[in-house]
Assembly symmetry: C2
Homo-oligomer: 620 residues x 2
């Protein structure tokens, strides 16, 4: 991985920062967040502005360029990768370390007095704008909205915004029609006396309308906005996508069943003007919902007196609690996914001794095997396929220049997942094809203990995920070890592999209580720079737990693993497990053998079945 040379780009950017064609007064710093106008985590190539300016292409990071400095903030997953992808014009700001200043503090320390800091108001979320603006003004500076994106100005061959074909999903996959979902949403709005709701998150729009797209790789979403009123549905999307008869029929565009369920279609770009029009017509006491993570640009269209900014939307919550159809779909998707992975591991055992299997070829093989499964749509994120030291790069993606060959001597970590019409998967397994060292086994076992501690946890209804995070770390902490990422994230159903508003993390923001039907990942890890990486990840479903007592009738919850792929026994130091933990491993492997075994048998995949049976022997 050679760093991107940014000397010329930075020179150009610093020039436009002073160019009156784009800004009324020169700015002394320009903030380039990752993210698009929908605050998406994964973004389309046309929105990869932060990567364009600094070279770092991880999923999270903010670049700031001043007249003298250029700095990038990213988190522990990306320290190594960022340092490799950026040239020495850039300072890497390692978030989460004590000595690392916040963006605000850093700006205040380097800026001359009374500076102006620019940012594209479509790319920065309203809540971030507020915090940044407050911090800067308290130090005598100001945050200014720059309407023209200055990266776009200097980006000569910037790709066009995608507009892919839409997929319609029927009741079989969604369990609820979009009309039902709109009606339920309006019920929530009526409860809170809200007359309008501006929907900006792409997965919320896709979920609400039971539509999918492929505008953003790995995320089956499409560029759109929606404004929902008590008797209006305004959808903003590239109009040519609505020409397909199946889409027109799905949305009842030509023959709406009821007036209040009639969708008015507008071009994607007209959301700003239409929102202005809606706001202009509001009665004095009318309130409009918008997520506080929506863009500053759209948020500020709504007059303060009418604006009700919410940390997460009712759609986000409704989407997170899967209905029985979605749960069944997720289970099916995970069974198919496990079939593909069992095949992959059986194949690897045969092939590795030949010395020709590489990180990239395994990733390709995994995709090939998954694509043979019914209703496969694509991958749910770039496969992390990493050998030895590459495994320590938490969000590693093999490139030709980093590609390592799998061997009998190094740990191999694969974190991968797929989109199926019925669900989304995300699974990590860490394996050794030779003989792991005692130290590798020790670390693996601590990670496994953490994984089990979360998976088997019983906790009261209403508990937030952050209260479970330490369970995943306790065994590592006891030995002075840790990992610098959260333990789990929400998982969509044939939607984004990362979704809110719940998760399991030491970070406590945007963390809504867990409830039955939510689906999250459980993925503790341990990473030793330059040596190896270990992560054990299952997707788990929140289910009611049976307990001996029931304090104040609150009820309890626990998790059911949806991922059913064996955990390599060779990596476990069973002496470090308690009897309860051994029982958990055996029960889990029994379930893998029964459920996935039956499907392997049905699909006639004999070698994988033999491998599964061998890998799920009980431990004692």
């Amino acid at each position: 991985m050679s760093p991107k040379i940014t000397v010329e780009l930075l020179r150009q950017l610093r020039q436009v920062m002073k160019n009156s064609k784009y800004i009324t007064e020169p700015i002394q710093a320009y903030i380039v967040p990752s993210g698009d106008a929908h605050q998406s985590e994964y973004i389309a190539p046309c929105d990869c502005r932060r990567e364009f300016i600094c070279g770092f292409n991880g999923s999270a990071g903010t670049a700031i360029v001043t007249e003298q400095h250029a700095a990038l903030w990213t988190d522990g997953r990306y320290f190594l990768q960022a340092s490799q992808q950026m040239d020495n014009n850039w300072t890497l700001m390692k978030m989460g370390l004590k000595e690392t200043p916040s963006q605000e503090d850093w700006l205040i320390s380097v800026l001359p007095e009374n500076s102006k800091v620019g940012v594209d108001p479509w790319i920065i979320a309203a809540d971030q704008w507020k915090n940044m603006s407050k911090a800067l003004s308290s130090a005598g500076h100001s945050l200014v909205a720059v309407q023209d994106n200055l990266i776009d100005v200097i980006w000569e061959d910037r790709p066009a915004r995608p507009s892919t074909k839409l997929i319609t999903l029927g009741l079989k996959h969604t369990g609820l029609t979009w009309q039902d979902k709109v009606t339920a949403l309006r019920g929530k709005m009526a409860e809170r006396k809200i007359s309008w709701f501006v929907v900006t998150a792409l997965d919320e729009i896709a979920w609400l309308f039971n539509l999918r797209g492929s505008d953003i790789e790995y995320n089956p979403v499409f560029f759109a906005y929606a404004i929902i009123g008590m008797s209006n549905i305004k959808l903003f999307v590239d109009r040519k996508r609505l020409m397909e008869p199946v889409v027109r029929e799905h949305l009842e565009l030509d023959s709406p069943s009821k007036p209040e369920l009639t969708i008015q279609c507008f071009p994607y770009e007209s959301v700003y003007m239409e929102l202005q029009a809606v706001c202009a017509a509001l009665a004095p006491k009318e309130k409009m919902w918008i997520c506080d993570k929506a863009s500053c640009a759209l948020t500020q269209v709504i007059p303060k007196a009418h604006r009700s900014a919410i940390p997460y939307t009712p759609l986000c919550l409704a989407k997170a609690v899967k209905n029985p159809t979605e749960i069944q779909g997720m289970k099916m998707a995970h069974i198919k996914d496990a079939v593909a992975l069992c095949e992959l591991f059986a194949w690897l055992e045969k092939e590795i001794p030949k010395g020709t299997v590489t990180e990239i070829s395994v990733a390709d093989k995994a995709e090939e095997l998954r694509s043979q499964q019914k209703d496969f749509v694509g991958l749910s994120f770039p496969t992390i396929s990493s050998v030895g030291p590459n495994g320590a790069i938490i969000h590693y993606m093999p490139l030709p220049e980093t590609n390592r060959t799998l061997s009998l001597n190094e740990i191999y970590l694969i974190d991968s997942g797929a989109q199926y019409l019925d669900g989304t998967t995300d699974v990590t397994r860490t394996v050794h094809f030779g003989t792991p060292t005692d130290y590798e086994k020790e670390c693996f076992t601590y990670v496994l203990k953490g994984h089990i501690a979360v998976s088997a946890a019983v906790f009261p209804n209403g508990t937030k995920g952050h209260l479970l995070d330490s369970f995943a770390r306790a065994a590592l902490w006891d030995s002075g070890l840790d990992y610098l990422h959260g333990t789990g994230h929400g998982v969509g159903c044939f939607l984004n592999v990362h979704e809110g508003p719940c998760g399991i993390s030491y970070k406590t923001f945007a963390d809504e209580p867990l409830e039955a039907g939510m689906i999250v990942s459980d993925e503790p890890g341990y990473y030793e720079d330059g040596s190896f990486g270990i992560r054990i990840e299952n997707v788990v479903l929140v289910i009611p737990a049976k307990t001996k007592y029931n304090y104040r009738n609150r009820g309890s919850l626990t998790f059911e693993p949806l991922t059913l792929v064996p955990i390599q026994l060779k990596m476990i130091n069973t002496d470090l497990l308690t009897q309860k933990e051994r029982d958990w491993v055996n029960d889990y492997h029994k379930k893998c053998r029964e459920t996935i075994g039956a499907e392997l048998e049905r699909q006639g995949r004999k070698e994988a079945l033999d491998w599964l049976i061998r890998e799920t022997q009980p431990i004692v």
Copy 2:
């Protein structure tokens, strides 16, 4: 408990609400918060205004009087007590119940249009003022600051503000002179480019100046303010307290060593005018720190451009991290405290069969025994001494009409602590003097497992206390049980028994990372309404932990119990403990026996020593 008759008082209050002698325009409602001008948790009799107007004397509650209505908001701990202490002029607003309106919502529902709501700006914290004011103005009303406290106007025999003798603490007790503390504080101010700091919390002032008072029961503080500049120290305190030669010498009032360490003394009441004078002389970019929990009155003196409101102050943090002298003092205080408690339990075993020991008599006996220890000053909070069902009332305090007799049949819970010149204690033990039921033992053992899980936890430097809270609950959760309070609070050193900014709670606000030298309580519990209460509380010191590995050189922390009082073995179902937990109990009891045994021997307290030896036998 008969209710206070408030007809006449309410009539008087409603009159002064319209009296132009006190207010420029009539107000339609008057808010009476609990709390004093320093936002203290415990308050002096002269500040018990909410109790005066409505009769309810619990520690938390807000009264609001309008022209037609009078209502009191309090939480679940006090529903019964408040309903008994108030007459039927008052409506009890049960906080936490779904149907109970917030103060803001209630005011909006009962007030005529364009009403003015008054409050004493000294009693309401700046952040509360902000929220209330925002809610009222959004409904067309306004919150107004009434300079004369209207309760004081009608309170004829209001006690005088206490002005007790000041105690000076030397290096032997504090480890740092007040001059060192001021210099360190100025270092923090310089780091953040702050030129002034307004200190309003009484414990921060007491800690900074190495002075103590007894103005508020249980809290060794005194009424004062301080304004610290880079070359000024302004202390606002009743001047007659500074007449004592020992105080004058301690503060170097007559012969300051350096100009920047010269204390200027002002009357307590002149803080407002003096702060105005300081603000008037500020240079354009000068910033002044004030806690966002300080009074609205003082906060608003500081022009916004100069004000830097912080959620907790550098003194709060400095005070929380105890220095070696303070740690040594806290250890000594806990040894003496344990001696008193061993004596108490030995005495109880003899006395209880006589049937004459009551909740109140135990509390009195505990105080008597503690008062025999060196440098005893007083109790650190009202003793919670509770038998059987009274134990389920978490903040129970025995009164003659609720006083139960201790017996061989019911669980007894005592939560008590003292102030010594060298430290503050807070300990809870739950015991049975007959034979506990299997269920009582089961619950006790879950609580003990939680207590041990926190006490023995190893965690990385920089971890916040809320990440440890679930360790205390896991064993209870597994069985469907829980407790509805936090697990621990910061403890002062010969200061307030509750202090910030760290703690162990599922609530995550105002939670600063734990660091070596901090002292917190570890007190999980379980409460069964109408039956019993269980709590096991030690005060623990955060210390560095030795671990096998040291990830990223962060270092690890763990806890060392300062409280050394046996945990009743009879209450433990040892089958439910792991070997590690049994070892912890045995190690803990060994330490109790060695440390407290030596002191009991030194003090010649033979019976208590025999009791200690018997109660600290190892379990197998």
